[in-house]
């Protein structure tokens, strides 16, 4: 039987999520026996022009070229997966959208750059249909493994359905609530499933997994804007 063809590429972002994929290490060797990694620019010089069964994109869309590329990959892929905050929710790049006073950005950046760059940075699903999302900054390696195992075994990926917040992760692990120290924490607003890795090391949640599914988005937008304008950071748009 023919192996499934998969590929990876990053748009505007730090490529940290691709380095999480590398962290599968020896499992990558096993995986590559079952599926064929035909395109992975970060680690391979291989060039491939054909169709993909599953294609993973990290990073958000910031230029016209990236928009074109995402549309092309939609046409060339049976399943298109957004990985990491930048691709699923805009990631840290949305701070620029919130600060987007075009005059201030123009005054500090060379104009030739701005010709190529869109006014706002966008997550992938604002341009094309995305079949699956693996959120996080960076992505969670267990979620990635679970997803890939499902591609291999069932030939159909599966996304974990998460209808709870990061608070549930904290409570179930018995982690002391960081808000008790008077620190802003986005945990109550954020989709759980990360095992509350940040609070477990004494760091508040910055919302990298995107808004929890029960939130009214309009209220959240205003909250995120206020937070950024007050000098804080957030990783996902409302």
């Amino acid at each position: 039987m023919e192996k499934l063809k998969i590929g990876f590429l990053s748009l505007t972002g730090c490529e940290g999520c691709e380095f999480v994929i590398l962290q599968l290490y020896e499992k990558l060797l096993k995986i590559s026996k079952r599926i064929e990694i035909v395109s992975f620019r970060l680690i391979s010089s291989k060039k491939y022009q054909g169709q993909f069964d599953v294609f993973f994109i990290d990073g958000s869309i910031t230029t016209k070229d990236e928009e074109k590329f995402v549309k092309e990959m939609r046409n060339r892929s049976k399943i298109l997966v957004a990985i990491g905050s930048c691709a699923t929710d805009g990631g840290v790049n949305i701070i620029r959208n919130i600060m987007n006073d075009p005059n201030s950005i123009k005054s500090v950046y060379k104009s030739e750059f701005l010709e190529e760059v869109n006014k706002e940075t966008k997550p992938l699903d604002s341009i094309v249909k995305i079949d699956y999302k693996l959120p996080g900054c960076p992505i969670n390696i267990e979620e990635l493994e679970y997803f890939i195992k499902n591609i291999i075994v069932k030939k159909k990926p599966k996304e974990r359905i998460i209808n709870y917040t990061v608070c549930n992760d904290c409570i179930s692990k018995g982690i002391e609530c960081v808000t008790k120290k008077g620190i802003f924490c986005a945990g109550p607003l954020t989709k759980g499933g990360c095992g509350a890795i940040c609070p477990s090391f004494g760091v508040p949640c910055f919302g990298c997994r995107g808004p929890s599914i029960n939130l009214k988005k309009n209220n959240l937008k205003e909250l995120i804007k206020q937070r950024v304008e007050n000098g804080g950071i957030v990783f996902a748009q409302g």
Partner: protein, 432 residues
């Protein structure tokens, strides 16, 4: 065969961090111009970092790069703590040094095994290489996996670490975990030595020597430093302060392209493992010195491919130094101090895995940034890469385009460039 005045474009370069293209124009006299084009779209990090509260700055700065994120965090922390007039206690400084060493090892191992080694063996990638050279591939993977584990114990996470913050550490590793880390590091010593021997014995694709290259790195008396610099030095022995570096490192617009290239006092400099080795190899850990003496390595590296050997030596050094630190550290002193906002400005210069990294900030009285300037090692090295290509490939015009292009790509990869980082190297000042 190739006629004169032809142009070569490498296309999207693989196996480097980030996106880049190189454009080379030949004329009758050899190479007329070289343009390394960084295609990573403008990421506006220096704009996004403006107006941010000092505690959040290192966390956001981490997202500049998915592989050397630790260096951006550390540089931001050093600059901000300097502004706030805070000096962490000795043990906190040591744990930061240990964490930084682990990050250096992680970056070097990923570069050597995942990005560079397929060039020497003639494969597209490490997965293809596993069919014939499983031992090498497995060694690299085991190495990287162990280091990732150690990184996650001290730093909370390998990619976008959590514990190292302004004021100290949010959490110290337990005594038991530190013992385990020491054992794991000891178990890597043999692999590190084999890695070095392996890279020494590999046949280089071609000679990559540019006479008169000037190497620059940070310095600190009697040590082989990565963080907490006293200043910047070059292989000619000049020493300048961090503030002087921030003033004397200037970007000029290239005559033949819209892009800018950076120079220190008007001179092109080369940074990275090869620069650090050439400048401070006498200060390497005695065990590392012993090993390089036994395998017979020279004191100066002239060939840019030897950057890979310098990285392998640094892996040995960082393992030894980290074991030494962790065997003597007092974990009870690791804590996080609460710091309060204060106006001021400061420059931090550290050695990221790929060389000199500068973070410069100005804070207002509320502790928010009003000036941000970041200079990355890859941005510094672009000028050096361009000069190398001009001097090394000028005599090769008779070769086919594809051979020249693939050789240029190999040279570029030896520098271990990181284009995600360099793509936002623009100065910003907003007056409010």
């Amino acid at each position: 065969m190739k006629n004169n005045f032809s142009e070569i474009e490498t296309g999207l370069i693989s196996r480097v961090e980030g996106h880049a293209e190189i454009y080379v124009k030949f004329s009758a006299k050899g190479i007329e111009n070289v343009d390394v084009k960084v295609l990573e779209s403008a990421r506006f990090f220096e704009a996004m970092l403006l107006g941010k509260y000092f505690k959040d700055v290192p966390i956001l700065a981490s997202r500049i790069c998915g592989i050397c994120n630790h260096s951006h965090t550390q540089a931001a922390i050093e600059a901000i703590e300097t502004i706030l007039g805070f000096k962490p206690n000795e043990d906190t400084m040591l744990l930061r040094e240990a964490l930084n060493n682990i990050s250096i090892i992680y970056n070097h191992i990923l570069h050597l095994y995942f990005l560079a080694i397929p060039d020497y063996y003639g494969y597209n990638d490490i997965l293809e290489m596993s069919s014939e050279h499983m031992d090498i591939v497995k060694r690299g993977m085991k190495f990287a996996e162990t280091i990732s584990y150690i990184n996650s114990i001290i730093g909370g996470r390998t990619i976008h670490g959590l514990t190292n913050v302004v004021g100290g550490f949010t959490k110290a590793p337990s005594e038991d975990k530190v013992k385990l880390i020491i054992e794991k590091l000891k178990s890597l010593k043999e692999d590190a030595k084999i890695t070095l021997e392996n890279f020494i014995n590999l046949k280089q694709p071609f000679k990559a020597i540019r006479e008169g290259s000037i190497y620059a790195a940070i310095y600190k008396e009697r040590s082989y430093p990565f963080i907490y610099a006293e200043g910047v030095t070059t292989n000619n022995g000049e020493k300048i302060s961090k503030d002087e570096f921030s003033k004397n490192y200037k970007e000029e617009v290239k005559p033949y392209s819209k892009a800018k290239i950076g120079k220190l006092n008007g001179k092109v400099i080369t940074v990275g493992a090869i620069a650090r080795y050439n400048i401070a190899n006498q200060n390497l850990h005695p065990e590392a010195l012993n090993i390089i003496k036994n395998v017979g390595i020279k004191e100066k590296f002239l060939d840019k491919f030897q950057n890979n050997i310098a990285q392998a030596i640094e892996v040995i050094h960082c393992i030894e130094r980290t074991i030494e630190i962790l065997e003597n550290i007092n974990l009870k002193n690791i804590k996080r101090e609460s710091l309060f906002p204060k106006a001021g400005s400061a420059v931090a210069i550290i050695e990221a895995p790929r060389g000199i990294l500068m973070h410069q900030y100005e804070l207002n009285e509320y502790g928010k940034t009003k000036f941000v300037n970041i200079v990355t090692p890859t941005a510094i090295n672009i000028a050096s890469i361009e000069l190398d290509i001009k001097s090394i490939f000028s005599n090769l015009s008779e070769y086919s385009d594809s051979i020249i292009a693939s050789n240029i790509e190999k040279l570029l990869r030896a520098y271990d460039p990181c284009f995600s980082c360099s793509a936002h190297n623009l100065k910003i000042k907003i007056d409010k």
